[in-house]
Symmetry: C2
Subunit: 207 residues, 2 copies
DNA sequence: TAACTTAATGGACGATCGTCCATTAAGTAT
DNA sequence: ATACTTAATGGACGATCGTCCATTAAGTTA
């Protein structure tokens, strides 16, 4: 078995992901509506029939691209979170920092996210995949807030954790929208300080 | 000059707005991508050439629909705000309540908003019109927060008002996204209480 | 009523769109 | 080397797409 990276004539898995990459690139450039099969295969440098061969159709390719984009985001978050250990406050801050970092929050990502959002309500295959910042992330945040909320005996910990989770995700969502519509005026520092004001208001002893 | 509402054979203004209404209805049902001229005129019950006659083309019709939708939202907010007088705290709460009311926040509206959002970054005519919850609203909120912030001498009033404005709009944005993706699980009461926690954290003497 | 302006119609048009398949090529097993 | 399986190609296909215009109708002015 040779390494064969250079001159592989056949590469089904590679071509599959090339198509997905080309699709995401096209969406970030011209939006979903103008992302046609012709444009995708031109970007990918592959032949027309490949979409049907590997995905069965354009619809499934879009769904696979949505899934890949979602994973890309989540793994980006996860990498940051892994580094900070298990203290819940640090996990929360890692999520916030990562979500607002240039690595994850940039023009390409905001355009793709909102393009899929716009299509999610009417295209099942996409909706399943682009839930509110992914259920995985939501669960991670809620678990962290639940631990923190236990230190506030004056409040119902479930309600507090729920509000913190919901609020934080909504706030971050809004930051992405703002970035999308106004990438030049956007300030990561201001965004972060506002998020900190929010969670600091809920958990004054921790943030 | 007769009233002629019943049997008007020609009605350019009426047909124009019928086309816009049909466009928004189509977008809320099948998204922007599948909103075709054929579908629009079928919904409107008008003839094919009318799109070109009244708007010059589909692109301009979409832009006009985006504008109409934006106005629809803003005037809805404004009506609520007019009722509560000039006290800044009451203006803010009126905006929040209106934004989360069923009149403004519903499946149709969230679908249309996000459909336009997804197209905004790549279609100039739409982007101009669907800024972050409209500059008019942003200015109104900021003015109210500026007055309130003057009562907090420990903070820079400009920074405080800016953070409150930015944060509130982002939070409401996020609520809309959550509603879009999960209309059944969404609770207006929870959403409102979270918003109140946020502004209450910034302005403890007022909210 | 006649002449004129504006609105509305709906089909024809070329230009895409996405799908699919007959054909060729590459890789594997016998 | 041969037979076989899987990958890749690219053009043909019917089905739409949005635009536009020749034609008809409605309303207005003279």
């Amino acid at each position: 078995m040779t390494a064969q990276v250079r001159t592989k004539k056949r590469d089904p898995k590679g071509n599959r992901s090339t198509l997905i990459r080309a699709t995401l690139e096209s969406i970030s450039e011209v939006g979903i509506t103008d992302t046609t099969v012709s444009r995708i295969i031109e970007k990918a440098g592959l032949s027309r029939g490949m979409v049907h061969l590997h995905f069965g159709g354009k619809t499934q390719l879009l769904a696979a691209a949505a899934q890949a984009f979602s994973d890309e985001y989540y793994f980006g978050i996860d990498r940051h979170v892994q580094k900070v250990g298990h203290a819940p406050e640090r996990i929360i801050m890692a999520v916030v920092t990562a979500d607002l970092s240039e690595e994850l929050l940039n023009e390409r990502a905001t355009r793709i996210l909102h393009a899929f959002r716009g299509a999610a309500s009417t295209h099942t295959g996409i909706a399943e995949v682009s839930g509110t910042r992914d259920d995985r992330l939501r669960d991670m945040i809620r678990a962290a807030f639940s631990k923190i909320a236990a230190d506030y005996p004056d409040e119902d910990p479930d309600v507090l954790a729920r509000d913190a989770t919901f609020g934080l995700l909504a706030l971050l969502e809004g930051m992405w929208s703002d970035y999308l519509l106004n990438p030049n005026a956007f300030s990561r520092e201001v965004a972060k300080s506002i998020v900190c004001r929010f969670i600091g208001g809920l958990f004054p002893d921790h943030f």
